[in-house]
């Protein structure tokens, strides 16, 4: 039997709850139109994938960063499987919004690992 790491993620001393905005949409008049996102509360372990970093651009200082999320529930990246379509989930963590860029399906071990990038820009 495969060791289930979800027990670690479920550990209430380590995990935390965070808000996820799940998008769905369709093409209307040649444009992708998003519906009002579904608001979910998900539990998982969040740590830093890359620190907040400033880029000195000619027009502004742009700030970016990324977090890594270990969760029992799968976070979505942009998808169209015929029935369900939408862009990547957005995660709100410590008051800032991150968009899921990668998803590692370690479902066989009882969890998912996702990386989300900070989207605000400033």
């Amino acid at each position: 039997m495969v060791f289930q790491l979800k027990r670690v993620i479920k550990n209430r001393h380590m995990n935390q709850s965070f808000t996820v905005y799940r998008s769905s949409g369709d093409w209307v008049d040649f444009e992708w139109v998003e519906n009002t996102p579904e608001v979910l509360t998900i539990t998982g372990i969040i740590s830093i994938a890359s620190e907040k970093e400033m880029e000195n651009l000619d027009f502004a200082d742009r700030v970016k960063g990324a977090i890594v999320i270990h969760s029992i529930e799968k976070l979505n990246i942009t998808r169209d499987d015929g029935t369900e379509k939408g862009t990547s989930d957005k995660v709100v963590w410590r008051g800032e919004e991150y968009k899921v860029k990668s998803s590692s399906p370690y479902a066989d071990y009882g969890y998912y690992k996702s990386i989300a990038v900070r989207i605000k820009g400033n």
């Binding site: 949409g25 040649f30 169209d80």
Partner: protein, 192 residues
């Protein structure tokens, strides 16, 4: 004549709509004609899907720089109505994927010459420049497979008209001075 100004997005939609008519798309097939650069991104497609992607924007051209003004006096309001018109030269990039990308590229290239589509464009003051380059074959490599792709670029002249108001001169005061900055000889007031 009224103001005439079409945004890039409106232009792309006019072109997309004509392409859907040329390709005789059903409502579901129309969803495979998509405008590029959506703010939040958009889901991708399969190698078996026949897709059309469109982007349009103004390009630099000698025509863009010529402006015409026409002033017409109006009694109410008591001013001149100025109409400024110029041509914007618009480029449309049409990117086709899928097993029928070659056939669809040919249909689109030929279809824009059809009278019905010329009339639709003319209603929006858009006129295709008939010097169309041929579709370009640009297969795209993605994760171990080559995806069929053809690109077409079409150019259009688009009339833009803007309206503004120019106040007319209602009165003037002319002062005659003696010598260089000398004393005033006479003041003439001209009014209606």
């Amino acid at each position: 004549m009224s103001e005439q100004f079409i945004t890039d997005k409106q232009f792309e939609k006019i072109i997309a709509n004509i392409i859907s008519l040329i390709l005789e798309c059903t409502e579901e097939e129309k969803k495979k004609i998509r405008i590029n650069w959506p703010e939040e991104g958009q889901p991708a497609f399969l190698i078996t899907d026949n897709m059309v992607f469109i982007n349009g924007y103004e390009v630099d051209d000698m025509y863009n720089r010529q402006r015409e003004h026409q002033d017409t006096y109006e009694t109410s309001p008591d001013a001149f109505a100025r109409e400024t018109s110029y041509t914007r030269v618009m480029l449309t990039n049409i990117i086709l994927y899928g097993p029928l990308s070659f056939e669809n590229a040919q249909k689109i290239r030929d279809g824009f010459f059809a009278e019905e589509h010329r009339i639709t464009l003319a209603k929006n003051k858009i006129y295709m420049i008939p010097d169309n380059p041929s579709p370009k074959r640009v297969p795209e490599y993605f994760e171990g497979r080559w995806w069929k792709r053809y690109d077409i670029s079409l150019r259009f002249n688009m009339l833009t008209t803007k309206e503004s108001t120019i106040e007319r001169v209602e009165s003037a005061e002319i002062v005659l001075l003696e010598g260089d900055g000398g004393s005033e000889i006479e003041t003439i007031e001209i009014a209606e």
